[in-house]
Amino acid sequence: MIPAALEALKKAADAGDACWRRSERTTIAFESGRLKSAGVVEESGLNIRVLKDGKVGVAGTTATDAPPSDVVARALASAALGEPLAIEFPSSSKFSAVSTESKSATSASVGTLADIGRGLVERLSRPDAQINVVVEREVAELTIGNTAGGQGTYRATGVSVGADIARVSENDVLMIYDELTGVGLPTSEDLDFLVDSIKTRLELALKIVDPPSGSLPVVFSPMGLQAILLPLKEALSGKTLVQGISPLQGKTGEPVFAEGLSITDDPTLADRPASYPFDDEGVPARRLPLIDCGTPRGFVYDLETAARLGGSQRSTGHGHRGVFGKPHLGYSNLIVGTTPGPSRWSFGGGLLDGIRDGLLVDDLIGVGQGNVIGGAFSHPVALAYRIQNGKITGRVKDAAVAGNVYDLLKKLGAWGNDGRWVRTRWSPSLLLEGVSVAGR
């Protein structure tokens, strides 16, 4: 598909690139503990970008029975309206190897995937709750090519195992969720981790206690950390730099945050589903420190944001691309706080000792709504626990936490010893002092 697309590109456009993606995703779903359906999605599609008279256009299709020249024609119509943009396509065709594929995933039968789910249902079952488990395996192949000679192809696998448990009593609905992600099937240690995580968090949530109130120490679990990290992810993106709205613009090299804060994006990590040898625009992957010991060091760019900043920057290899629409900027594996390694289940990450009264936040409602980029957040808790005298005393309902990320991260309490992957993000728990907690 790619050679035909490049041929059509060379004929009709000044330059261009093409991305061909084929994937097969198998899903095994246990609903309320019962396996009732199994599904597969086989998909392939072509995304084409052209450069014509200095303008960029894109088009995509899953109608793969049509010739690539049709898609090129549509991309040209798109370019005719586009703004001038000096995109330079990368000419790399040799890339460092990154392990993105596991035989355990490709060779697993539907029966094997179902057994993983069944095992979890058995271990998590309890009479007062419903269990849903979804096991998903994806095998994908991505090929890119461009008119500058850049080309590459790789295969990737991904397995995710998610389990949620819902307990309804009177007017109280409690939902606990966790998910394992990897390129291959989970090990028995991984599955133990998932079971421990869900069981511990459920058992500690059965007792409902009054929420504390005031400016308090709050432990954000690796899952609860989302609200804190989202403003930073926006601020470190080349896209917000182009728009001129990043609060970190012009702050590289200055100590903005507490020394304990380091964030790195690393697409070259072995055996993670978000890893790649090159991004979806053919730019070689590399490890990129974003914040180093409290000091911003760099931003992520794709080809377009780099071009829009007038050649002062190059793509860092963070272009992502679907079948439809134009490539966009995104992170790969975001590594926060500590170095990735094996995970050990520990609730609170050893940060609870010494907290006389505070909160452990595991999930918040409405993260991403509102004015994220400014750093201010205010969210009701979806799942949070009260900490009293170094111990979790129960679940807190009807409470909200608020603060400003840029103020809170000037002083870190501590990182926990419970580093883990939450999908594409690695982090331990984080203790922050002086978070505003309001009960009702």
Partner: protein, 458 residues
């Protein structure tokens, strides 16, 4: 296409087989500030086979290559056979349907050039930018599509439909002295090119509001009587209550089933709630759902009492109720699941002024930025609000976030005005990995006796 699908059905050895095929032509244009980000056209083609055999589970195979239909029937059967069930899945009986339901395309968007569509949204974007120097950035999006749809099943249902859709949206971002505010305009229609030309004023208003919000104070957190405008009320009823009436939430969960027992009182006499997939011309409107069941107006709450819920054929059979035409799939990539269509709070009496005239101090929450529910807990962000003082709408306020418990809040809806409207806005609903499905909400102005408004929470 029919012949291809009928042939494939005949080849299936499963007890029940259905095939859906979709071909969607779409264009999208998006501006960021004065800059055109993209203007592009795409074509998405694919299908989904779903089979069921006695004693076995669902086998589902979705694909983008239509040549694969026979192979995919085989694949779905294999997957189905891999699942052994003690308690069989049953489907509620429905009358087989045959229809050529070619909706009026209202000016076929496929005949309009990309350049013309770009000019339209550029003009709307210009309305926002022209408001004042406060508007430092905008986002303006145009999206249209036409979907040709086929559905056949082994019970004799055979449908062929053509569906148009257009959405327009604008975000105006105002900035002054380090303060950033935004305001939205959004239009979503199951219509075509003929219906997109009268929205300049809405985009201009979005620009004006963003600029005004720069000078507006943050609402003071606390408990107030709250009046929801039809948009907020619609989003509230969809998110906070609608999802609980989807039968797949309760049908295999005894505790949830108890919580949602028909006959339970959820609100006062003024409260009526329903979901109407057959309402003419709305985004959630379809003649049939994705199991080939005709859509209908389903009453969920009548005079405060729970009287119904939304079903697929499977959940209806399981609960001994009737299917309601609410099994919908986002696209051929997904199997149908229980979804809302056009969800509404029924009309009450009187005007907006009647609703506020005896409110000494309250909050008027307008136009939703977004909402999230964790079943009984919810949080909704209004795009803007006003204080109500001594029975009148007073100053503009920002950061109006409503949070609370669903059951308490439903029970505190004390008055509903008689100014019902459907909110023809874009966006959509996400559930179980299928986002965003076109839905509509409708409501009149609604008064909640007492609700928590978070601004400054601490």
């Amino acid at each position: 296409m029919r012949d291809l699908l009928d042939g494939a059905l005949r080849a299936s050895r499963a007890d029940y087989t259905e095939i859906r095929v979709e071909r969607t032509w779409a264009t999208g244009v998006s501006f960021r500030g004065r800059r055109l980000e993209t203007a592009s056209a795409s074509e998405d083609v694919g299908g989904c086979v779903r089979v069921l055999s006695k004693g076995h589970g669902w086998g589902v195979a979705a694909f983008t290559s239509l040549r694969q239909v026979p192979a995919m029937i085989e694949r779905a059967q294999e997957l189905s056979r891999a699942i052994v069930l003690d308690e069989p899945i049953r489907l509620a009986d429905v009358t087989p349907q045959t229809a050529e339901a070619l909706l009026d395309l209202d000016g076929d968007v496929r005949g309009i050039s990309l350049a013309e569509k770009t000019r339209l949204i550029e003009a709307y974007n210009g309305e926002m930018l022209a408001v004042s120097g406060d508007i430092t950035d905008t986002i303006a999006n145009y999206h249209d599509e036409v979907t040709e749809y086929w559905f056949v099943n082994s019970e004799g249902t055979s449908l062929h439909e053509l569906r148009p859709e257009v959405t327009l949206s604008g975000t105006a971002i105002a900035r002054k002295n380090g303060t950033i505010e935004k305001s939205l305009e959004s239009i979503g229609l199951r219509k075509g090119w003929n219906s997109v030309h009268m929205y300049a004023d809405g985009f201009k208003k979005a620009g004006e509001r963003a600029s005004q919000l720069l000078r507006a104070p943050t609402v003071r957190g606390g408990n107030y009587p709250v009046i929801l405008d039809p948009e907020m009320a619609g989003v509230f009823i969809h998110e906070a209550f609608g999802h609980l009436s989807e039968a797949d939430f309760v049908y295999e969960n005894p505790q949830a089933r108890e919580m949602m027992t028909l006959g339970r009182r959820f609100g006062r006499k003024v409260l009526n709630v329903g979901d109407n997939g057959a309402a003419p011309g709305l985004r959630g409107t379809m003649p049939f759902d994705d199991e080939g069941v005709p859509t209908q107006d389903s009453v969920l709450i009548r005079e405060g009492v729970l009287v119904g819920r939304l079903h697929s054929r499977e959940t209806a059979a399981r609960m001994g109720e009737r299917p309601t035409g609410n099994a919908r799939a986002l696209s051929f990539r997904h199997p149908p699941i229980v979804r809302m269509t056009n969800t509404y709070i029924g009309n009450g009496e009187g005007t907006f002024e009647d609703l506020i005239k005896d409110v000494k101090l309250g909050v008027y929450a307008c136009s939703a930025f977004g909402g999230q529910t964790m079943l009984e807990s919810f949080s909704f962000t209004a795009a803007y609000g006003y204080m109500i003082r001594d029975g009148h709408v007073a100053e503009l306020v920002k950061d109006v976030v409503l949070a609370g418990n669903l059951f308490q809040t439903l029970d505190r809806i004390e008055r509903i005005a008689g100014d019902f409207q459907w909110n023809q806005i874009g966006g959509g609903c996400g559930k179980a990995g299928q986002a965003y499905l076109a839905v509509t909400e409708g409501a009149p102005h609604v008064r909640i006796e007492d609700a928590l408004v978070g601004g400054d929470v601490a």
